[in-house]
Every structure is written in C-alpha cells, then in structure tokens.
Symmetry: C2
Subunit: 258 residues, 2 copies
C-alpha cells in the first residue's frame, strides 16, 4: 500500500550475541518496524511480534536483501534490516547505500536510519582486556570484493606502522587459504611472541575465546564466525594466578618501537 | 571493609550520548556497583543510587583514577569505572590494565570485567551512512604519549594503503596545531574531494555532524569532543533531494584504486 508517509528503512545493529548488547535504540527500532529483513540466524534473535512480517534470506545476499527491503519501504512501510554487530562495519549499511545509489530516485526520498551496535572486535577485546587500547585497524580478509594483493598491501602497511589489526571474515568455505596466508605475512613484520586473539560467538552459549602467540597461531582454529585480533609490538600480556591473562596495548608507545 | 569476596572492578562503556546507547549489560553493571569512578561529566550521566558512592575525577587523570578504583576494589568492594564510548578504544580499559601490571599482586587477583560500548566512530558513522563500510583504522592524534613523527607515519601508511581513517582526540588546549598538520599531511595522499566528516556529541541535545571535502576541511571546526572520519579514495557521497547526503565506502574496491 502507498500510505501517507514515504516509508522508512532502519538498519539495526544487534550487537554480537544475546540481548545483553542490544541498545534501547535498537529495541525501539525493532518494536516499531512493520517488516523485518535479515540473514536468517540474525532474524532468529529477534522475538516475533504480531503484525510484523519477517523476510529471512541467505548469507552473501546482502545486495538483493537490501533492494528487497528498500522496495518494501518505498511502498510506505516501516522496514527494519537487522545486522549482526554494527551495521556499518562489514555489514548491511554499505550494501543498503550501494542499492540506494544504484536504485530508483524514490529510494533517495526514503527516511533511512542507521542504528549502531557493538561490533565484534569491541566485544572480543572486552573479553580479553584492552588489546585495542591504542591505534588499530579493522580489515576484512574476504577477497570476494577486492583483490588479494590489496589485502596483502594493507596487512603490510598496518603491521609495519604499528597498528593492532582486527581481522573480520578470516575464513569461509570458498576462501580456505587466505587466513593462513595472512598469518604468514604478518610473521614477516611482527615478533613471534606477538599475541593473537581468537573470539567466536561472544555473548552466546558457545562462546570461545583464545589467546596464542603469532608463531603458534593455527589458522585452522578460525571459521566464518571468528574475529581475530593480532597485536602490535606494544601489545602485552599480564599473567594472573588462577585467572586467564589480560592482554592489552598500552596508551604510550615505548621509545624503541617509535 | 574486607569482605568475603575478592572485590570486583568493572570498566563500563556508556556509549557516546544519552541512554539510547546504553546496553543492558552496562545498566546491570552500574546498578550493582557499590562505588562509581570516572571523569566527572561521564559520571553525571549515571543517575544517583542510594548506597552507591561516587568518585569523580578530572580528565587526563586516567592512571590515578584507575589506581584509586583498584585500591577500592581490593578492599572487597564492587567498583565500576565509567568510560565514554567503548572503554577499550582510547579510554579507561588500557589505563586499568597498565595499573594492574604495575601494581601490587592483589590487583591481579581481582575480578576484572570490561563492558563494551558504542564507540564514537560507530555512532558518528551511523549518523552519516556507512563511511566505515570497508577497511578502516582508528588513530589517536594525541602526541602526549607517542611522538608526533609516529602519528605522521601512521597517517601516511593508512592513507596510502586505502584505509578510511577515524581520528580520535583531534585537538586539545595543549595540542592546538596537530589536527591541522594531520589534515595537511592527508592532502598529500588523497584527492581534494575526499569526504571528511566531523561528529560531536552524537545522541546529545547539542549534537553536530558535518560533511566537507578534504580541500575545504577547516581544522578549527574540531574540538576535544569531536570525532573526525576521513574517507578513502573509494568513499562516495549520495546526494538526496531535500535530505542530507549519505556518505559511504562501498564493499567492493574499484580496479583503478586497487
């Protein structure tokens, strides 16, 4: 139906896990939406509501999902697209913008709102200490949409300049060797004792977090849902008797590595 | 008092503004704390509770504040340290880890918990579109704790490798020229039309967000509370009749810039 209003599309970040990370702004957006779009497992995290239609889709269909949601919103509907973590970090927000730019003029007239969420690197870092406590970067290892040579160039630049590196999308069925190759590459720049942190399903019952050294990092530990943080030369470990160590990157840079 | 338990220190991220960004995990941590520590204006965001002591301190006293909170927790108290945004991103988490490493052994026996929050770059990006939609880095412009030459090296590396750059702490009273110098530096690497985004006080009544081009970026617009995002060569603007433009960085990298 074409209502009195223009329609609205809200892109909602659910955070990494259960409801503990869901902001009030996200709760409101989910409660007022007339239609929900999203990757099936993310939609499953949102309790059903009477009168709200649900449109799950497969992973790797971001463009088609965004376009379907925009078409629905352009009919005068209040539509929410749900995204894991933060929608602006390797998630649905860029896909929605791409479709708006390529789509019909009416999509530019829609009310489009982005609701931020806790992205995976923040949740994993919080479980471990403060590994992102100093300058850092976030890099997707997926070479579906950029050449692998560019990934390598960015890994080189980030490690050589002393950024802590958060790696999103380390592995998928179609990309089995890339993460191992990235770890090899980082070994050229960083000491063997550099902390490497794996975080999976933070805030969910099957949460798994582990800390190893760069020389012992086993690429087969990571899967599609793993977020990896590779420390810089400054990143340190605090041993704690009877507890897991804290890993952090100090706010000050030592003279030697500057 | 020295209770039956060891004491607990929780470092809580409040997010960037009002309660709309406060996660349930953060709400719980604030509700159960017996003592609250933090920079005054951040503490002021937390409603007072009977039986809960409050210990505000000045900005730039992170180390002393962390140590005071740890001493209090070591007496068997449930202490929360509040932080704007995410505590792990240029905020209190690293300061707490530094003090634990340098402090008495009993501090390593404490229960220490980090509660993530929406960090400024995610909130500012969400107001604008999806400028962090592809690889990006977060860099503090403060040279209080690292040499300015290192800041310059990181700006060069990040811009040349095609990262979008989020700049934290662009300006302070003691650091008046650094942000202007950083903008000059980035002009060597990036086209004059590169979008530069300023965000201040997102989610608060005095919120201010603006989008300019790199050649027109005026360093005097930024203050201590401003978060700046500088696009990459890929970052694009979608004009929208009667609305502010959307700025986003596409998921795919064009052949030309790869």
């Amino acid at each position: 139906m074409t209502g009195a209003h223009n329609g609205r599309l809200t892109v909602v970040g659910l955070g990494p896990g259960d409801g503990r990370y869901l902001t009030p702004e996200a709760v409101d957006a989910l409660a007022t939406a007339e239609a929900l779009y999203g990757y099936g497992p993310y939609l499953d995290r949102v309790p059903p509501r009477v009168g709200q239609s649900r449109h799950p889709s497969d992973n790797r269909e971001e463009g088609a999902r965004a376009a379907a949601a925009l078409r629905h919103a352009a009919q005068g509907t209040n539509v929410a697209v749900v995204s894991g973590g933060d929608p602006g970090v390797f998630a649905m927000a860029a896909a929605v913008c791409e479709e708006i730019e390529a789509g019909p003029a009416v999509w530019r007239a829609l009310d489009v709102v982005f609701v931020p969420g806790i992205t995976a690197m923040l949740a994993v870092a919080a479980r471990i200490g403060a590994p992102l406590g100093h300058d850092f970067c976030a890099l997707s290892l997926s070479d579906n949409l950029k050449p692998w040579e560019l990934v390598e160039r960015r890994l080189d630049a980030a490690a050589a300049a002393g950024f802590v590196i958060a790696l999103y999308n380390p592995v998928s069925r179609a990309r089995p060797w890339q993460f191992g190759s990235a770890i090899e590459r980082l070994r050229r720049h960083l000491p063997p004792t550099t902390p490497v942190m794996f975080g999976r399903a933070v805030g969910r019952p099957d949460e798994r977090v582990s800390i190893v050294t760069l020389d012992a990092a086993d690429a087969t530990v990571a899967d599609m849902s793993t977020l990896v943080i590779v420390g810089s030369r400054e990143t340190r470990l605090i041993a704690r008797p009877g507890r897991t160590p804290l890993v952090y990157t100090p706010r000050a840079v030592a003279e030697a590595s500057a």
